[in-house]
Symmetry: C2
Subunit: 340 residues, 2 copies
């Protein structure tokens, strides 16, 4: 899922996205509840109308951004109390409020509010977070007002503690959600620790429900997670890196501000069918970045979204052909991790 | 002609432009010679390749921006000597250099370097500018290295002084250029003074060559100029205003940051077929501006380009139907001037 934090995938007209293979996009509840507000979004034809994206949309619960962006003033069993990063207004996010906001935003898949502690949280904090996540999941399910229209997913917490994960997973699956996410990963625990949790717990998630790994990741992470059984991903890397002139390619990332691309008349990637590679040279894109032209960020974002969607398309084909293990072992994209 | 100053119409993928009716775009020699440099543009497949715009392109001479943007250090009969607004480098722009740069940029229509004094220049300065414009036009014609590929247009100067205009026009038409522009208008002389020059001198330009009014303007100005016999226009207003959330409509401009559009689910203009109006609401666009999302400027720029191109399309039809006088008298767009 490309990420449309504030109701737009930054710089990209949604009508040009379908050929990339994009089937569903993500938007952020935290940002949209603060601006323009969920009631305004509802009046504009809900997120589908406002974004001009008639396809499926997923919204997160808002909790993660409260922790990462706002001035968090208090957290208790009711919810989180914080100050808006936009105007400092005091705002409360409870399980019921997260559901009401997501009901108004109108996404097709919505997420339970969870308690996601940092990777290095002490054991008692990690255990308390799991219990709170379970209580909040129950409250979210009760207060979800549009269960016929919107699939509610729960989030399995527990960090890297196997017993906690097991407990959380067992309790949540007993509550019968429409889908399940593994949360509390890609929050600083490192690739090896994440992979261990994935290999142990992704297969334990119900096989007849979508399995979603939130906020991940590099191609390497996605391939490893798919091998463990994950179905869905969201990540800002394609667009955020695109805005910074970093383009993903099968041979590794390239930084288009580099002087060696000044008069390079070739495309970012030779076999890519994205709107940037079909028409624009590396040299032109480099110029657009140096000239502060919007088209630079737009073009590299488009390329990166196409790159990621082609990866997912190739992964789906490998699975259908029973060749996913071979793909993970041999496709060069399986080794693309964080850029040095 | 929509304006692509630095080799891109700001924020707009060229592949989505053709349905607007756009047939030709403009790029600025001054900006491109400084960055990325005309040799780099040539290496990237000239302007057509770099911009990914295979259709016709026009470049100006560079002179106008030297006056308006650079630190002008000296002007003499050889040319203009200035410091780049990017890095302060000393640069010289002569008639021969303007031709060489435009030959390398590779536009389909290129312009003679001219001397364009301000509207309030004293009579002797205005007269000297005309003589210099004539000498430079001759030098441009001599040094133009690709006359078979690139049509060279001359620029008629003379301000609002009828005798000077007449003299300049007479001398230039005797030199047999591929097209003629009226320059030195829309530089502060006011609508009435501009219209008087247009009514007197546009009909005097050769009827078998394109007649171009540079840097104009509001719909009112364009309609008046067409009535006087002008064929071609370029203007930054559609995109510059679009980036500032000002949308042109037949009923007058609207400012999309206005609070009354907050929950407005209607399009900018009901009968518009642009990518913004087909899919996005005023409320969504307003939100994108407040959220600093690129899509806000992109969408309103698209709308304004479509608005201007529809105006030109309707003007062409009115001319073909012998109904241009009626159009000028009765179409509400004929009264759209600067916003109060």
């Amino acid at each position: 899922m490309p990420v449309g934090t504030q109701g737009t995938i930054k710089g990209i007209l949604p009508e040009i996205l379908p050929p990339s293979g994009t089937q569903i996009v993500l938007a952020n509840t935290y940002h949209l509840m603060l601006r323009p507000g969920e009631k305004v979004v509802a009046a504009l034809g809900d997120l589908h109308g406002m974004m001009a994206w008639p396809g499926p949309i997923l919204t997160d619960s808002g909790g993660f951004q409260v922790f990462s962006l706002s001035d968090l003033s208090r957290m208790d069993d009711d919810g989180v109390h914080f100050k808006s990063h936009i105007d400092g207004a005091a705002v409360e996010l409870t399980p019921a409020r997260s559901m009401q906001v997501q009901n108004d935003l109108g996404a097709d898949i919505i997420m339970c509010l969870d308690d996601c502690p940092p990777a290095d949280a002490p054991p008692d904090r990690a255990a308390a977070a799991v219990e709170r996540t379970l209580r909040w999941a129950a409250r979210c399910k009760e207060s979800h007002a549009r269960p016929a229209d919107q699939a509610l997913f729960a989030i399995v917490q527990g960090g890297t503690d196997a017993a906690l994960r097991e407990h959380c997973l067992h309790e949540l699956t007993g509550m019968d959600f429409a889908g399940y996410a593994l949360g509390g990963l890609a929050v600083g625990e490192g690739f090896a620790a994440m992979k261990q949790v994935l290999d142990e717990f992704a297969p334990a998630l119900p096989a007849d429900r979508p399995r979603y790994l939130m906020g991940v990741g590099y191609p390497r992470d996605i391939v490893a997670a798919v091998c463990a059984g994950i179905d869905m991903f969201d990540c800002v890397l394609p667009t955020r890196n695109g805005r910074n002139a970093l383009a993903f390619t099968t041979a590794g990332p390239i930084r288009l501000r580099n002087a060696r691309f000044t008069a390079d008349s070739g495309p970012i990637e030779a076999d890519c069918t994205c709107p940037a590679c079909r028409k624009f040279s590396r040299g032109a894109i480099r110029h657009f970045f140096f000239a502060d032209e919007m088209l630079g960020p737009v073009l590299v974002s488009l390329h990166n979204v196409w790159f990621y969607q082609r990866l997912m398309c190739d992964i789906r084909r490998a699975i259908a052909n029973g060749a996913m293990a071979d793909f993970a072992a041999n496709d060069p994209r399986s080794r693309l991790g964080p850029c040095e």
